[in-house]
């Protein structure tokens, strides 16, 4: 069984990778068939994933393969591992990712037709799919990080696909850097975990992390709460450690939040959300898969994976971040006029829901919403893409209008997804479109959490109120987008005139996704909850499992506040009516004195970009300039100054040499020369005169020497008779004895020495 699953999984993984390699290496040969090649490969991959789902035996989790990758201990025995790992969550995600990717590939065949880099687009798209699958099947945080970054890379390439234009260049760079900011946090979290767990970075649902070194992290968290309750904050560290809050299990919060930083970047949560709307500069198929269905979901997926190590404090932070994103993005979606940006902010908002769900502990619903949202948001983007395609790349909704008549299928698919995202359901029943199932669960979880926390913490009510508020806002902004695009009269004739229904290759995926948007919730909610049971059990998540059970207080409250499934109708109907003829009515309200500043601020994305570009980015660049200046002027200047000092010193010594030493030498030489001028008169140049001089000198010396020896002149000369030896002879004998001694050492080198006897018998 496992072998089959492993084979299928490897096949499913290899298909997109093979597509990438094939298209990059043999792209010229494949040419226009690239789209079909990639799509069929992805289709096969999807089939593999569905098969796995079908045969997934016990809904448990299993590590299918594990390889040593990076050595982390000195003896070379400890490793960071990579491999293949699946649990119910992974199976569902694999099916979702490969399915949506296949549909997006299909859609791109029509959308990207005629692009000069057609082949390369599919190569990137397949690589992206591969990377995303890699995240899903990661058994360890390190492998997750690897594919995490690869997803970032492919996203960079896809957003910047039309890099000749300036906006995509900036957008892709921004996306990557924002992701990197998050990743830095990820790395910090990873490092702290690494240091504290001794390198056990296997993901929580496996046996590795939870039981690392006998430390059951979950029980540690429990113990932490207990010790805090008892007022005993045990801290083994002091000073800086206390300041950083690293005492006892503070590191765990820090690690969890660090890892969550990565999720913030990837899932575009506040405050790193600004890249997502800009990423809409990429081709629309990219937006539909990368920035709605999969990549941005990776952050949520990661948070879900590390859920067990998240301390209560960390969860509160996570929920708050999600909450801010949720509300802020919904409000912005309400004022944007670019159709893709509306969808982008709506994505942000929905991601906010998921993150809130994780923060409040509605673990299963966060992932459920991730999957349902993938279907309808992907469909929405594809419809938007079709519209943009039909409208000759006009993206401003103010210039649309009445397109529903020209492209009815697209309008229908869009409409279905609007209903899905609004959480539409048949009132008083539990039947609804996909969004209803997942979102109501999240709101129910938020109610439970909010009620629980508001008793201890005053602003706690926000945790249930804001998700509820956004549940009413969502139908409004989606209705606005639908009405402005498809309803009313055409506002710009040129756009409307040439508009046409999308070609089948684009329409089919749209419709397929729309169908999924209708049925996936109803079809999947029971299996999802059941499938996540074992995973949740391992992680120790018990609550909220059966939110749809009638007795759950949170669910009861949620249903009540959402008018028993009828809550969506009011804002939706209002939106459709209010925007049926364009923005006229709305802009009048927006211009009113009370709303105007808010409207303006929302239109400017709450000035986040301004702050980031001008302030942070500007500061970084300014700092780099300053440091560069310091480097050139001060550090290097110091070096050059030193060198100059050396050369100055050399010059000075050179001058000293020339002016003092040389001159004195010159002076000496000159005086010698003058003396020589005097003396030259004695030098006649005659050889014999020299000879004469020499011998006169010899004679004088001889006389002096003799004078010292001859007793005539030397009163106290030692008597030769007394010693029996003349003075000179003494010297001679010394010489002889010295000589003998010397010859002794040299004698060894005389080759005849061995023949001594024969010579001297």
């Amino acid at each position: 069984m496992d072998e089959t699953i492993l084979t299928l999984l490897v096949l499913a993984m290899l298909m997109p990778l093979a597509g990438t390699v094939l298209l990059l290496c043999a792209g010229r040969m494949i040419g226009d068939r690239a789209g079909w090649v990639a799509t069929s490969l992805l289709g096969f991959s999807f089939l593999c994933c569905v098969t796995i789902w079908g045969m997934w035996p016990d809904r448990g989790h299993r590590v299918l393969a594990l390889y040593n990758w990076l050595p982390i201990t000195a003896d070379g025995a400890g490793f960071l591992e990579v491999g293949l790992f699946l649990d119910s969550l992974g199976v569902a995600m694999m099916a979702m990712v490969s399915g949506i990717a296949a549909l997006v590939h299909l859609y791109s065949i029509g959308y990207m037709r005629g692009d000069p880099r057609y082949t390369r687009f599919f190569a990137y798209l397949s690589l992206f799919t591969f990377s995303m699958m890699g995240i899903v099947i990661s058994p360890s945080l390190i492998q997750l990080l690897v594919f995490w970054e690869l997803v970032g890379l492919t996203s960079y390439l896809l957003i910047g696909f039309w890099y000749e234009k300036r906006a995509p260049q900036l957008a892709c760079r921004k996306a990557f850097i924002m992701n990197r900011v998050g990743d830095a946090g990820f790395l910090i979290g990873l490092g702290i975990l690494f240091a504290q767990l001794g390198g056990h970075l296997l993901l929580p649902a496996t046996e590795g992390m939870l039981m690392a070194d006998g430390n059951h992290i979950k029980s540690m968290i429990g113990a932490l709460a207990a010790t805090e309750a008892a007022g005993q904050v045990a801290s083994s560290h002091a000073g800086l450690n206390d300041w950083l809050g690293l005492g006892s299990t503070g590191w765990l919060s820090l690690a969890g939040l660090g890892l969550f930083c990565g999720a913030v970047g990837k899932s575009a949560q506040f405050p790193l959300h600004t890249w997502l709307p800009d990423a809409m500069e990429g081709p629309t198929p990219v937006s539909s898969i990368v920035h709605s269905a999969t990549m941005v979901a990776a952050g949520v997926f990661l948070t879900a994976r590390i859920y067990p190590i998240l301390t209560p404090e960390a969860r509160l932070v996570i929920a708050s971040i999600g909450l801010i994103t949720l509300v802020m993005a919904a409000l912005m979606a309400l004022v944007m006029t670019d159709i893709k940006r509306v969808l982008a902010y709506s994505t942000l908002s929905q991601l906010g829901y998921m993150v809130v769900a994780l923060g409040v502990g509605a673990w299963g619903y966060a992932l459920f919403h991730l999957i349902t949202h993938a279907f309808f948001k992907c469909c929405l983007f594809q419809c938007a893409g079709s519209v943009i395609h039909a409208a000759h790349h006009e993206q401003d909704m103010r210039r649309y209008g009445g397109l529903g008549r020209k492209m009815p299928w697209t309008a229908a698919a869009f409409g279905i997804c609007v209903l899905a995202i609004s959480g539409a359901a048949i009132p008083l029943t539990t039947l609804g479109l996909s969004g209803f199932y997942s979102k109501d669960g999240i709101i129910a979880g938020a109610f439970n959490f909010g009620f629980g926390i508001s008793g201890q913490w005053a602003p706690g009510w926000l945790f249930w109120f804001l998700p509820l508020l956004v549940a009413y806002l969502t139908p409004l902004y989606m209705a606005r987008a639908f009405a402005l695009t498809f309803m009313g009269r055409p506002r710009v004739e040129s756009v409307h005139q040439h508009a046409h229904e999308a070609p089948p290759s684009m329409l089919i995926p749209q419709l397929a996704l729309a169908v999924m948007a209708i049925i996936s919730g109803w079809m999947l909610w029971k299996p999802m909850i059941e499938a996540s049971q074992p995973v949740m059990q391992v992680m120790g998540i018990q609550s909220f499992a059966w939110l749809h059970e009638p007795g759950n207080p949170g669910m009861k409250a949620a249903h009540a506040w959402l008018l028993q499934g009828a809550g969506w109708i009011i804002p939706l109907a209002f939106g459709l009516w209010w925007y049926r003829d364009g923005l006229g009515r709305a802009s009048r309200v927006a211009e009113s004195w009370a709303v105007r500043p808010i409207h303006r601020a929302l239109l400017n994305k709450l000035y986040f970009d301004v702050v980031y570009d001008r302030l942070i980015s500007g500061m970084v660049v300014a700092q780099s300039r300053i440091l560069d200046w310091i480097d050139r002027r001060i550090v290097d200047g110091l070096v050059n100054r030193t060198a100059h000092l050396g050369s100055d010193l050399a010059t000075a010594t050179g001058r000293f040499d020339r002016d003092v030493i040389d001159r004195s030498l010159d002076g000496a030489a000159e005086s010698v020369l003058q003396a020589g001028g005097v003396l030259r008169t004695t030098q006649a140049g005659r050889v014999r005169i020299y000879v004469l001089g020499i011998f006169v000198a010899i004679l004088l010396v001889l006389i002096v020497v003799l004078a010292s020896f001859l007793p005539i002149w030397r009163a106290s000369a030692p008597s030769a008779a007394a010693t029996g030896r003349p003075v000179i002879w003494t010297f001679e004998s010394d010489f002889v004895s010295g000589h003998r001694h010397a010859s002794g050492s040299l004698g060894d080198s005389i080759p005849f020495s061995a023949k001594e006897e024969s010579i001297n018998p």
């Binding site: 014999r688 004679l699 001889l702 001859l710």
Partner: protein
């Protein structure tokens, strides 16, 4: 036969040695001073030959027969010939008068005499030993010992001497060649 006797300086048969010594000493000393007084270069050369021969005899007396032979062959046979060559090559007049002027001669003689006297005084004052303490072995001065010494203790000096000879050979040849060239150049100049 004579040589056998001569080898034994300081032996009981000292009178032969004594005679021979004075004979050779007189030959070299007288010739040397005759050389000093001779005005003619060729005669000077002849006197020099006699002096050198006398010195060779002294070497014989001292038992250094190889040295004596070398003295005769190299000095008398080689150096002297060279000097004669020099005389012939540089003198248009074969009997060039090289007589010194009177004052110079006087000065030279005075100085030389002073030197000789001083040296003699010094030698006598030093009280040099009369003779060697021990009688030497027969083969003391055997040529093979000289060969062995030259190739062992004095090897470097020997090699240096060899190199100097080589250099001298090359250098002399070079100098003469330059002269020939210069002569040829002078000849062509003269012709034009």
């Amino acid at each position: 036969m004579l040589l056998l006797h001569v080898q034994t300086v300081g032996s009981s048969e000292g009178w032969v040695t004594l005679v021979l010594f004075y004979l050779f000493a007189a030959l070299s000393g007288v010739s040397a001073w005759a050389l000093v007084l001779s005005p003619n270069i060729i005669r000077m050369a002849v006197y020099l030959m006699l002096t050198l021969a006398g010195v060779a005899g002294i070497y014989f007396l001292l038992g250094a027969e190889l040295l004596a032979a070398v003295q005769l062959i190299v000095y008398v046979g080689g150096v002297l010939i060279l000097i004669i060559f020099g005389v012939m090559l540089t003198s248009r007049n074969p009997y060039l008068n090289v007589a010194p002027r009177g004052g110079e001669m006087a000065l030279g003689l005075v100085l030389a005499t002073v030197l000789a006297v001083l040296l003699a005084v010094a030698v006598l004052a030093a009280g040099l030993p009369e003779a060697a303490a021990a009688a030497p072995d027969d083969d003391r001065y055997a040529v093979r010992w000289i060969g062995a010494l030259l190739l062992s203790r004095h090897l470097i000096a020997f090699e240096v001497a060899a190199v100097i000879l080589l250099i001298v050979m090359i250098g002399a040849g070079y100098l003469v060649r330059r002269r020939i060239k210069a002569n040829q150049a002078g000849a062509t100049e003269g012709r034009s």
